[in-house]
Symmetry: C2
Subunit: 421 residues, 2 copies
Amino acid sequence: MSIGNLTKKTILSQANEAKKAAKSLSLLSSKEKNEALQKIADEIEKEASFILQENKKDLKIGRERHYDDAFMDRLALSEARILSIATSLREVTQLHDPVGDIIEEWNLDNGLHVKNIQVPLGVIGMIYEARPNVTVDATGLALKSGNAIVLKGGSSALYSNKALVSVIHQALVQTSIPTEAVQFIATADREITEQLFTMHHYIDVLIPRGGRSLIETVVKKATIPVLETGVGNVHMYIDEHADVKKVISIVVNAKTDRPAVCNALETLLINKTWFQRNKELLFSELKKCNITIHGDQVVTHHLPEALTATETDWAEEYLSLDLAIKIIGNVEEAIEHIDSYGTKHSEAIITEDPQVAKQFMQEVDAAAVYHNASTRFTDGGALGFGAEIGISTQKLHARGPMGLPALTTSKLCLSGNGQIR
Amino acid sequence: MSIGNLTKKTILSQANEAKKAAKSLSLLSSKEKNEALQKIADEIEKEASFILQENKKDLKIGRERHYDDAFMDRLALSEARILSIATSLREVTQLHDPVGDIIEEWNLDNGLHVKNIQVPLGVIGMIYEARPNVTVDATGLALKSGNAIVLKGGSSALYSNKALVSVIHQALVQTSIPTEAVQFIATADREITEQLFTMHHYIDVLIPRGGRSLIETVVKKATIPVLETGVGNVHMYIDEHADVKKVISIVVNAKTDRPAVCNALETLLINKTWFQRNKELLFSELKKCNITIHGDQVVTHHLPEALTATETDWAEEYLSLDLAIKIIGNVEEAIEHIDSYGTKHSEAIITEDPQVAKQFMQEVDAAAVYHNASTRFTDGGALGFGAEIGISTQKLHARGPMGLPALTTSKLCLSGNGQIR
């Protein structure tokens, strides 16, 4: 099988096929779409050993290239992970299909009937990194919401993704969904990939999912609208009147439950009075969890083993058991720091003072703001939305966890009997 | 008064001032915002002669530069137009303020309270052309929805816009809204202006309003999300089973009522059987309205005085009393033509066959699709939304006429008592 041997012309024709498939896909019933997802899930389980065999090729190349453990873990599939991919697909069949929902319906005085309905976006361009499960998760959500999808996964997962897409196609031929609705861009050539970013006429939206540099590249080079996802430089402000027990439990949960995900805590901003009272307990609890502290001068003065935080510590996600800590005077300073360094994902305050909490919740600009809870709840599953295609950190179209409705748009349908203006 | 003497640094500090003002503006009540709009309306009426005097300077320069009549008309203000600008502002005070509306509210099983509320976008960057009224209309809608605004109008209207903004500022000092919430970029230097397009940290959305080239420049150069507006290459398909009286009345209305607006008809696609039966009547009615026909070979064969349509005729808006006509075989060909040349604004079918109408409405991809009515209804006022900041021709965030809700986003507010995951 040839890998990565693509030209701009091939990509253009793939995008065109997706656009054509999107049209017929947009007319299918929920039942037809659910049956197709079910069939994909079945086929993935049946072909588990083929998928694992192809995944091994990626893992071998990955080891040769000395990717780090975290990266290799994201790349690796197993029987259990394949089962979980299939299970997720079956869960998507249970979600409400927003396509065809009537958003609003009314008559003008002249009798013109206006109906605003939810319709699929059309063609989704999904640009992602190592995780092969995204190939199937994104496909499931796209198809369920009546969209075609053009997949461009990381080149490190090329064998795994090709295998998964061939299994998806094998399933789709048995269903009402045309196989052309799922296109896979099999190249490691960046220049070719970037052609996708300006294919307005064929692709309706680009969703980059991965690290900051991937997302910034897409935003910079795309002329197609982009749904930015995922970068979460998450802060928590510990107010003077924060309950110590809540602080310890929430900080430990937000930092250590899954440090590599985007809703994990990255920077603690601590009120100086609270810090004076509770620093020993806090430091000892963080130490128990093997958290490495990067502190400002006040912190390093009290905890000489802490590393000195630099500009990078405030600006970047760690995605590891590292935590930046800054001691500040009040909630206004917290809001200002978040304005400068936040990525508009999830931000929290811990306090027993409702006025200060209110000010923080109102003034902090983010997809999700928390009072006295862990930021780990910014997640489609945890909030009850079902599976998500990403967590939007931008303000247009969709903010926070994006489920099926984020993959639709609206259409005004006006029916008359000769109305003119 | 110095005009157009700006640097990148000045623009950056203006954007920064807007961002700061947006924070306090987002906390104001509807009452405070309405009072401010009322005050601006009063002040504009009071300063009408000053505004007209400054507008005359732009008109003089425009005549020297030999701008065409349509352009000069868009640029010109009059007592009546100034009154109408003030009236529009007062109408905006009557619209529902979406800020603070609860979109959804629920509790998780663990007691965490989740509230999804509507909040302002923050700072809107408005890029527009000759019409000075956009300066006030856009400001009114932005402020009412709690947003700061950075205005960059066409350089041909520089004196008029500066006058209007100074009057707006004069009004705002008497209100709760900081004057910094309305920033005007007083430059004719494109390179300086384009700096705005990448000021992520300060501007939340760019709204270009004007011709295709303005919009394409913004889309291409911006890294800030763009709400595309306005370009409407509007088609109407006359089906075999179209009622002749409806066709004549709807076509004449859609083409001639206001040919320069974006929901005006540009291309007629006519079923060949209908055309054979009704061509004489159609041509004679179009002639009565002084419409210039650009036809395909079939049309020019039957109407030698018609111009021969070229690729440009199918692809571009005329915005004048010109009309492209193509004779086709069926609704599928109509849909295909619209897929190739449409701008996803407004598209219509005239037919008495409900099946064909249904197919057209379902398969055509546009903000508004019509059956047996004029496309002139794609308009915030006509549909009952109130004033609009533009008509979105894209699929993300807002589609069709964009009123106040399009200038807001959502924010998840989560309140707990120590919940962790």
